[in-house]
Symmetry: C2
Subunit: 417 residues, 2 copies
Amino acid sequence: MAGNHMPVRPRTVVIGAGFGGLWATRALAGAPVDVQLLDRNNFHVFLPLLYQVAAAELEPEDIVYPVRGILRGIPNVSFGMADVTGVDPASRTVKTADRVYPYDFLILAAGSTSTFFDVPGAATYALPLKTMEQAIALRNRILGCFERAAQEDDSQMRRRLLTFVIVGGGATGVEFAGALAELIRGPLAKDFPALDCTEVRVELLEAQGSLLPGLPERLRAYALSRLRRIGVFVRLNAKVSEVTSREVRLEEGLAIPTETTIWTTGVRGESIVRSAGLPIVRGERLAVLPTLQVVGHPEVYAVGDIAYMEEIGRPLPMMAPVAVQQGTAAARNILRCIGGGEPLPFRYRDPGVMVILGRNAAVAHIGGYSFTGFPAWALWLIVHIYKLIGSRNRLVVLINWAWDYFFYERAQRLILP
Amino acid sequence: MAGNHMPVRPRTVVIGAGFGGLWATRALAGAPVDVQLLDRNNFHVFLPLLYQVAAAELEPEDIVYPVRGILRGIPNVSFGMADVTGVDPASRTVKTADRVYPYDFLILAAGSTSTFFDVPGAATYALPLKTMEQAIALRNRILGCFERAAQEDDSQMRRRLLTFVIVGGGATGVEFAGALAELIRGPLAKDFPALDCTEVRVELLEAQGSLLPGLPERLRAYALSRLRRIGVFVRLNAKVSEVTSREVRLEEGLAIPTETTIWTTGVRGESIVRSAGLPIVRGERLAVLPTLQVVGHPEVYAVGDIAYMEEIGRPLPMMAPVAVQQGTAAARNILRCIGGGEPLPFRYRDPGVMVILGRNAAVAHIGGYSFTGFPAWALWLIVHIYKLIGSRNRLVVLINWAWDYFFYERAQRLILP
């Protein structure tokens, strides 16, 4: 164990400035450790609102915060913007293109990426929604399809351009479907008066028999009826068998002509851990002890999406609250080890789940209580504004949401060059 | 002349949704013409503030407005997002990749692009600042150089990464130099506490003997001393002889090691007109009559940067007010022709010139009067907020400027993926 030959100021490397890595770093601020935080971007993304960037509801800048801004005035933390190219637990080093960082403790918080379950064409043609880059690309695609449709004389081609197929009826798919339907019915209908609205179609495909698995039946039924009411065409038990540049095929044989397939189902751990020889379990995530230590490597901690942990027989969800709590817990366990103590097991405090469906509509399941409609919607808004980092972001997001709410108007909907 | 066989609703094609094209289109709203506006982007850019995007002072979205949003509710105007690939005055058609647009009247408002005066390496290695794409690329480069310098052990390499050379002492070069110096002295100095500030250098090179040619001597002297006071290293009579990936060479023999050369000098008309066989004069701009009609083509009008026009022996500047006034005048002349009348000569009403130099400092020359310091700065702010399109843009820009002013803090300074 690392504690046996502990240096005066142990070096802790944190990979990833998402919720897990950032909260771990914050918990180590001012402690007797030297922390090196690494991320490929110079900003932290508030991922729960990423789909709103793709739906031209918010701008990229509204939901990011510069990592260096967060770390200002913390003398024991350094930030490096770099892609991690290798982790070597044997020599206790992390490699980037330019440097090698030795560590006494390592916190792996690299997050997750999309997996396409070997569906032919999906990795090539479907658009994932996991990173800022992907959200911007998706927004460009959607707005670009409308621009192309406006110059297209062939009605079949126009229909294909104006059909948007979302794969996955989990929280991201449901929230994005609602936001996209409202973008189209409101601002885009006004922007493209010459287009026939009946040619536009938002489809939501879910392989299981219900949207939002895991939520109580009443909330799932509310979400389904609400999405259908705002014009989302929901198909349940619809398994995708192939994606091409021109259509989505279902196992039952149906083919939906579309140029835009959005992939919100399927996540797996970031691939950096695969080459490290660390123990991998379901979904290419890391096997961790209840203390968040990676099995067989007591000086390596894994937190957030990249860590696989069960509680009462069910895996913890890949969500921001888990990452935040695990990041903080891992940091505290490291400090405990440095102080000569033993790491404590992690216990998840479930803050509940909230899914927004559009104007005045959401579902929430908190502390065993279920909410729908306006109360859930208002709660969703308050919590998300509160959780954003940075007062300016809060102010600007509030302005954008208010503009949308009162004027039925979206952000700049610009196709970024 | 087009008026001889005038159709009932003459088709007018407008190329470019910048100041010239947009104001021309607005002046044709509701008139008995069918207007087709074409632009390669789906947004209008408020170019006078573009340099602030490059300096991470404003976000791209703050200074753009969707073209379709501007044209809402105007039934006789269509917009097409497309690159114009050809203009054929003989057949009176405009070509894009997908379509051919016949016209009875054409308004060329395609703007200008950078020219590098055959300086070796400049076209390859210098970064221009004429489009949103270039502004984002420049911001990414500057912030990326700081991130790389933070991980660089070699002090000579660090100095090269932290040297920023701006070529051109006109309004854009001067404004950008001021904004960049304040970005570095404020937010970046706080973001990178481990970097040595004395290794950072902003150089402004001007080939002539003075900054801001054309302004009164008092204002030029004020601008020079002000820039030097905030740490900009200004070189006058400095002619660039070569740009490489690692340095800028001057004719006098000096070489300045840098990875970031910003090219703000030299503009010429957009190249679309060259293939059209239209009469080209100085700076590859179009020769126009006082009525803004292109010489030899009475049904073709040219406005803004792409048109070359002299008044009292001096060429009109390539600035937004000229484009706005010319666009409106060209549209009115077309309506006059349709009504059976004759086009009127254009007269420029000079609103004056304002150049901001940083916090509380600007120069303004309006109606023969000169202003410097805080009054000029306050005037600059008010005019630019007022001229922005869209109330939300005004509000967000105001918030960003206020945040910067009171907290010495910039926008998200994110390196866009």
